[in-house]
């Protein structure tokens, strides 16, 4: 009986985290591409006072009410960022910093104000700080799934236009698309993606769920569609693994656990992704360097033989090392390939194939 209940809770929690991972991963792709990664941070922090005000006004903790408050506040935050950048000489980074910290501070004022009121009806609001998957209920799940589904649906509907916005907004304007409206639409979708994750991951760390899956996916593909799909999968994977881990383990807060899972995915992607990955890059670099060294020794030997046709006893590795450094291992490698041969103890000359290669 207890197992069944556990399974049910776990299923709810895992499904909820998957929903948030998919939505924030897919929409985060655009944010990362457009270098607006930290806008996600500002939106999620800015959402906190929205949650508190929604609760103060309605006295309800229904997920839809709180999420609506969060979304409005998050949206207001982004509008303020844009307004500050457009009408003052304060730069984008400072505008983000101001909005995220001031909104968050105001949110704290409201939260502490609510907490110190005599009735205890407020319990549970502070889980918006760090998130708590264990508290997810079925109605939370339904809200998250519906909102996430709507956001993803809209994204697919205007996919082509969003692609234009991400890569060449000026061209889009010249084609007559309302690029500013699209910008606002994309930001609104991002707001939705963020607010549905607040309850699970928390406002402090939600930014990671926007940035990390997209940054990981970016390493594996150059295609936008595939990138968004991959990011959604990574987000879902991190969400599920993180929530299951934190639900099964004592005192393992959900938000941070999910964030560490998604960070692990990013690390693996940075290291191992095909073509871009750091490991492959290092291997390729080594191979290229070795090939260059071999080619250098080969052409040096060729030049020596051409300039000293009288010397028939070959040339020493020491002479070649003076020309391009550390020639000995390269000579041995070339000998194995049949491009040079050893005449004496330390005397080398080109073979027929080696000469042909050096000439080309």
């Amino acid at each position: 009986m207890l197992d069944l209940f556990d399974d049910y809770t776990l299923r709810t929690v895992a499904l909820g985290s998957a929903a948030l991972g998919i939505t924030s991963g897919a929409l985060g792709t655009f944010a990362v591409l457009r270098r607006q990664s930290l806008l996600g941070d500002a939106i999620s922090h800015a959402a906190l006072p929205g949650v508190a005000i929604a609760f103060l006004l309605t006295g309800s903790k229904a997920p839809l009410v709180l999420v609506a408050g969060a979304a409005l506040a998050g949206f207001l935050g982004t509008l303020l960022v844009m307004g500050i950048v457009r009408t003052t000489r304060v730069k984008y980074d400072s505008a983000l910093g101001i909005v995220l910290s001031v909104f968050f501070g105001f949110g704290l004022v409201l939260l502490t104000f609510i907490q110190r009121r005599p009735d205890a009806s407020q319990a549970g609001l502070d889980r918006f700080l760090f998130g708590q998957a264990a508290g997810l209920l079925r109605r939370d799940l339904v809200t998250m799934a519906i909102l996430g589904g709507i956001a993803l649906g809209v994204m697919l509907l205007v996919w082509k236009e969003l692609k234009l916005l991400a890569f060449d907004p000026d061209y889009g304007t010249s084609l007559g698309y309302p690029m500013r409206a699209l910008d606002v639409l994309l930001t609104s979708l991002l707001v939705v993606a963020i607010v549905i994750g607040l309850q699970t991951v928390g406002v402090v760390l939600m930014a990671a769920m926007v940035i990390a899956p997209a940054a990981a996916a970016r390493q594996w593909t150059d295609r936008l569609g595939l990138g968004a799909l991959l990011a959604a999968c990574f987000g879902a994977l991190a969400g599920i693994v993180g929530t299951v881990l934190s639900t099964e383990t004592e005192r393992l807060p959900t938000g941070p656990t999910i964030v560490l899972c998604v960070t692990a995915i990013v690390l693996v992607s940075l290291l191992a992704a095909g073509r871009r990955g750091l490991i492959w890059r290092e291997l390729r670099g080594r191979r290229d360097r070795r090939r260059l060294r071999l080619a250098a020794v080969l052409t040096d030997l060729y030049e020596l033989e051409r300039q000293h046709p009288e010397a028939h006893r070959g040339h020493s590795a020491a002479v070649l090392s003076v020309m391009s450094g550390g020639a000995q291992p390269s000579l041995e490698e070339l000998e194995r390939r049949g491009d040079v041969r050893r005449l004496g103890d330390d005397a080398w000359e080109l073979t027929e194939t080696g000469r042909e290669k050096a000439e080309t």
Binding site: S94, A95, V102, G105, A208, R251
Partner: protein
Amino acid sequence: MTSGQIEIQLIAVVVAVACALPGTFLVLRRLSLVSDAISHSILLGIVLGFFVVGSVNSPLLLVGAALVGLATVVFVQLLQRTGLVKEDAAIGLVFPALFSIGVILISRYADGVHLDIDAVLLGELAFAPFDRIEFWGWDWGPTALVVMSVILAINIGAIAIFWKELKLSTFDPALAVALGFTPALVQYALMGLVSLTAVGAFDAVGSILVVALMIAPPAAAYLLTDSLPRLLLLAAAIGAASALAGYWLAYALDASIAGAMASMTGVAFLLAWLFAPGRGLLAAARRRARQKLEFAQTMLAIHLANHEGLPEAEEESRIDHLDRHLRWPPEFAQRIVRLAHRRGLVEADAGRLTLTQAGRELAADALAR
């Protein structure tokens, strides 16, 4: 006011000023969000330091945590240099990860001992006066006040000593390199200050509010002045004023002091944004309105000058026909005529306008330009 209240306000002011000074350079260098990254990741430094030292108040812990903050900046730059992610994404990848490790470590191994997530994240200024430094039988005051005063002194000293280097590398890094300075070194020194200040302030106001105190007051001051020394002074003053206002707001609402201080820095920025002389929204709106009226008067003068002495002048100079000729709404036309008359550009006579000499000159001048 009790002595506790005075001490809390003193701490708040010192923290705000200490944050505003390095924050000014962050705002000018477009590095504001580095404060966000540092202030989060030092949590990990504090936790690790706590495991090593065993107390939250050791100076060693401060230094250790500040080093972790500096390491964050290094991580971000390394990640960025791989070329695999952009700068903004690099920041957003590094600090949540370090912060998460810190939170997990606290909740698994240090919960309720001396570190408590809420207090670390949100700060609790209200309890600061109870934690005092006593030395040689003397009460030196609350620990937070002593620590932050030392950090403030370090900040002032460092900025004074490296004034030239900071100024040059902030406004013209290329020239700084050409003159033989190393902007990278200045950068790391600045990051060291930010990190140290964030660690010290962390205890009092919590991580995210450090960002508010570092960014919002300098940004507000940035709208009010163009000189660097005045910018620093104004930023410090705005920070201090927000801190005091925040304290009393929190007192009135019985809410988080740190949160209220952050809110007040936002209010300060909002005020500067709206009312800054010359640059504020209001000043800009008034300038636009004035320009519109002046332009309209010039238009009127040109219109009259165009038709002056010609047969149709009779028709064109009638006030009640201006709305047709210049496409102005009648009320607006009336207003412009009134203004132009007051400036001595036109004379009105029986519903007809004639240009004065000044009006003719204005029209000729505007057309010649």
